[in-house]
C-alpha cells in the first residue's frame, strides 16, 4: 500500500511537471502545424484566410506545373552542392582538429561555433561586402589592374550555394569532430597491425565509425538550407528563387492556402532527403559501439 501510494504520488508529480511544457508545445507547435495542413487543403478566398471547400488543387498544381518542378529540382541541386562542399571541407577540418590536445581543440571549435550565434543576416551581409560590386574582391582586383569593370559575383546560384555553405559549415565540423573523438583508437591500431594502409584504414574503419557524425551534420545542413530565405534572397537576388522563396512570395500575395501547400512540399522534401541520407550512411550500425 505504502509503495503504491508513493508511486502514484510520483506519477502525479511527473504529470504536473510535464503538463505545462507539453501544453505549450502542443498549442504553439503541433496544433498550428495541423491547422496549416488543413488550410493547405482549401482554395483561396478574397475575404477569408481560405475558401470554404476542401480541395487538392494546390498540391495538384505543384505536382503538375513544370515551373514548380524547376524550382524543386533547383532546391535539391543547391542542397546537394552545399552538402558535398560541407562534407569535403568539414571532414578535412574535423580530421585536423580531432586529434589535437583537448584545450586547443575546444578553442578551435569555439572559433567555429561562435559564428553560428551571429545572425545569418549579418554573415550574408559580410559576403555582400566581400563579393559585391564595390566589395573587397572587386576593389583588390581593380587596384591591381587585373580588371576594368566590376565582376558580378553575387545574384547567382553559385553565390547562394557558396554563401550558405560557409554559414552552415560549422555544424558539419562539430558533428564530425564529436564522432571522430568517440572512436576508440584501438580500432585503427588493430587495422594497422593487420597491415592495412592509411587509406584502407580510413575507408573500412574510420569512415564507417564516423558515419553517425556525418549523418547528423548532413541532416542539419540540409534542413537549415531549406529554410534559409534571408540568405538566399540577399546573395541570390530577386530572380534566384528556391522553394522557400515561393513560400514567402505566396504569403506576401496573401495566398495562404497555396503557401501552406508549398510548406508541406518543403517538409516532404526534408523527410525524403533525410531518409536518403540515413539510408546511404546507415549511422545506426555504429550505435552502441561507442
Amino acid at each position: 500500500m505504502m509503495t503504491q501510494g508513493y508511486s502514484l504520488n510520483r506519477q502525479t508529480a511527473a504529470a504536473a511537471l510535464l503538463a505545462p511544457p507539453l501544453l505549450f508545445i502542443g498549442l504553439f507547435f503541433i496544433v498550428p502545424l495541423i491547422n496549416l495542413f488543413w488550410v493547405s487543403l482549401h482554395g483561396a478566398s478574397s475575404s477569408e484566410l481560405f475558401g470554404a471547400n476542401l480541395t487538392g488543387d494546390n498540391y495538384y498544381r505543384i505536382l503538375t506545373d513544370s515551373f514548380y518542378h524547376t524550382i524543386i529540382l533547383r532546391t535539391l541541386w543547391a542542397g546537394m552542392t552545399i552538402l558535398l562542399l560541407c562534407l569535403v571541407l568539414g571532414y578535412a577540418t574535423a580530421y585536423v582538429i580531432a586529434p589535437l590536445p583537448p584545450r586547443t581543440r575546444l578553442i578551435l571549435l569555439l572559433l567555429l561555433v561562435a559564428p553560428l550565434m551571429v545572425s545569418n543576416v549579418i554573415r550574408a551581409y559580410g559576403w555582400i561586402a566581400i563579393l559585391g560590386r564595390q566589395g573587397v574582391v572587386n576593389s583588390l582586383l581593380r587596384s591591381t589592374g587585373l580588371i576594368d569593370g566590376p565582376l558580378l559575383l553575387l545574384n547567382s546560384f553559385e553565390a547562394v550555394a557558396f554563401g550558405l555553405m560557409t554559414i552552415l559549415l560549422p555544424y558539419m565540423v562539430v558533428s564530425i569532430v564529436n564522432a571522430l573523438n568517440a572512436i576508440d583508437r584501438q580500432y585503427s591500431e588493430a587495422a594497422q597491425s593487420l597491415k592495412a594502409n592509411p587509406v584502407r584504414t580510413f575507408i573500412y574503419v574510420i569512415w564507417p565509425l564516423s558515419s553517425p557524425g556525418v549523418a547528423s551534420g548532413m541532416l542539419l545542413v540540409f534542413l537549415l538550407t531549406l529554410s534559409a530565405y534571408v540568405t538566399i534572397t540577399l546573395l541570390g537576388g530577386p530572380r534566384m528563387k528556391l522553394l522557400v522563396s515561393l513560400v514567402f512570395d505566396s504569403v506576401t500575395a496573401f495566398r495562404w492556402p497555396f503557401a501552406a501547400a508549398l510548406s508541406f512540399t518543403l517538409l516532404t522534401l526534408a523527410l525524403l532527403v533525410a531518409g536518403l541520407i540515413l539510408a546511404v550512411l546507415r549511422p545506426a550500425r555504429v550505435q552502441g559501439r561507442g
Binding site: L18, P21, V39, L89, V121, Y125
Partner: protein, 261 residues
Amino acid sequence: MRALLVALAIASYTFVLLPILIVVVTAFSASEFFAFPPKGLSLRWFEAFFASDSMRGAFARSLQIATISAVLATILGTMAALVIARRKGWIVNLVQSAFLAPLIFPAIVLGLSLLIFYKRIGGVPEFIGLIIAHSVLGLPFVVRSVTSSLLAVDPALEEAGQSLKASPVDVFRFVVMPLIWPGMLAGGIFAFILSLGELNTALFLTGPGVTTLPIEIFSYLQFQGGQLVIAAASAIQVFMIIAIVLVAERLIGLKRIVRSE
C-alpha cells in the same frame, strides 16, 4: 596529404570568420560608403545607429523578446527535462522527440503555421507572438542541456531528500537545482542568443513598426543597401555575442558552450 587537409581546414576557418571580421571592421569606417580597407576610422556609424529611432527600437525589442523567451524556455524546458531524465518508455521517448523537434524542423514552416494560427484565433500582438515562437525554438536547447545535466545527478540524492520529508519543491530548490544550474544556464543562454539572431519565424511574425534587429538589418539591406549604419548594428550584435561567450566560459565552461550548439 597532410598538407592538403591543413589547407582545407584553413580555408574553412577563412570562409567562416572572414565575413564577420569584414563587417566589424567596416562598422568603424569614417567614409560615407563602403570601401575596403576603410578610409579612416570613426564611431560615426555607431552614433547613427543610436540616433535612429527604428534601429534603437528594434534593438531594444530584440533584447526584450530574447530575455523573456529565454526565461520562458528555461522554465518550461527544465520542467520537461525533470520528467524525461527520470523516466523510461516509449511515451517519454515520444515526448522527448516532440520537444527536440524544433531543433531540426524547418523554422520557416513554424513561422507560417504560427502566423496563420494567430490569425485564426483572432490575432495576437506581434511582441507576444514573437516571444511564443522564440520560446518554441529555444525549448530544445534547454531540454537537451538540462537532461544531460540531470543524467549526471545520482537519483539517490533526490530520494534522500524525499525520505527526509522534503516537499518536491524543496527537493528541487535545495538538492537538484544547485547541481543542474549550469545546464539550465547553458540552455537559457542558447535560447537567448538564438532569439537575438532569429530570422525565419521573425520574417512572418514581425509587423510594421514592430520589428527585431535582424529583420531591420534585412530590410535595410534589401532597400537601402549602401547604408553603413547596418554594419554598426551588426558589429554591436557581434560584440554582444563575444561578451556573452566570455561570461559563459567563466560560468559554465568552454566544453558546454561548444557542445550545446
